[in-house]
């Protein structure tokens, strides 16, 4: 299961995993943009816990289990903290943190039923956390919370054989970064050890690894791409 599959990284990951022969369940607030016989889409507002529960209930009835959950859906806001309204910060946490927490809570029940030797939860973090980017307080704080979730949850779920990791992404051209100027993106890319823009082909390999059997002994890790720390 991948959250946020209508556009960007989520959509590209869904298409990649479908091509690799997996059954993929996706969700977004709006209708699907993926047409594939092995893809099932749910229209869900992840800020609503009742909608998350309903989606997982349906997944349990149709599939009975999950092998991996990729919490990709996220939202970003760019503003000086002094001029960021509280509701914007809370809304960012609702999607970037609480939706992840609630999806994990529901997914664990289905991951326990996986026949895979080490079912996985994969979350997404950002360079905005280690670099403490100005103008990204709500976004980076919510992703910091996700990183802590990864570390704690990896310990709490180890007894069930479920692994929890995160992929830390440098700037990628998606709807989330469309409002960031090219000069700002260039400056961020220049801070990476590998000084070029991250592309989807840079992401799919680490995702395959972190949700697959090759990383059976890897949990509680935040793996950053591009050499950012």
């Amino acid at each position: 299961m991948i959250t946020g599959t209508r556009t960007g990284i989520g959509k590209a990951l869904a298409e990649h995993l479908l091509e690799a022969g997996h059954e993929v369940i996706g969700c977004s607030r709006k209708p699907s943009t993926i047409d594939h016989p092995h893809y099932r889409h749910h229209e869900v507002d992840l800020a609503e816990v009742s909608e998350i529960k309903k989606m997982f209930r349906e997944v349990r009835k149709t599939h009975g289990r999950l092998d991996a959950l990729i919490n990709n859906a996220g939202t970003s806001t760019m503003n000086h903290f002094m001029t960021t309204p509280d509701e914007v910060t809370r809304g960012t946490f609702d999607v970037n943190f609480f939706a992840v927490l609630n999806c994990c809570r529901e997914a664990v029940k289905l991951l326990r039923k996986s026949e895979e030797p080490s079912p996985a939860i994969l979350n997404v973090s950002t360079v905005a956390v280690p670099w403490a980017l100005e103008g990204h307080l709500a976004y980076s704080a919510s992703k910091s919370a996700v990183e802590q979730l990864v570390r704690v949850m990896s310990k709490e779920l180890a007894a069930f054989g479920i692994r929890v990791n995160a992929l830390g992404l440098p700037p990628v051209r998606t709807v989330l970064t469309r409002t960031v100027s090219q000069s700002k993106i260039d400056a961020l890319v220049a801070r990476q050890a590998i000084g070029r823009m991250c592309t989807m082909s840079d992401i799919v390999g680490p995702v395959d690894f972190l949700i697959g059997r090759q990383s059976e002994f890897v949990t509680g890790e935040i793996i950053f791409l591009g050499g950012v720390r």
Partner: protein, 102 residues
Amino acid sequence: MKDQILKIIIDAIDDINTMREEKISTENVLDLCLYGNDGVFESMYLVAFLSQVEEGVEDEFEVEVTLASEKAVSLRVSPFSSVRRLVAFIEEELRLAGAGAA
């Protein structure tokens, strides 16, 4: 209804037993203490057990109940102190949700 609920609980214990080296006996299951000083479950296994029971109840009665709830943990006599009390708690939740009594 009691027997159906009890069967769901025993099935859930059997399921949890598949993950444990030290198996939980279901011989005197009604008196089995689930959680607390004499409980057979640590918190994570209790959560796994309860989610298994929730699923079983939903499949059997087509009613969604939440067992790891604030209501459950704040009751004066914990519904997790014995299987007998958990059965009674689930019965009451089903009654409140309007599920038909057998």
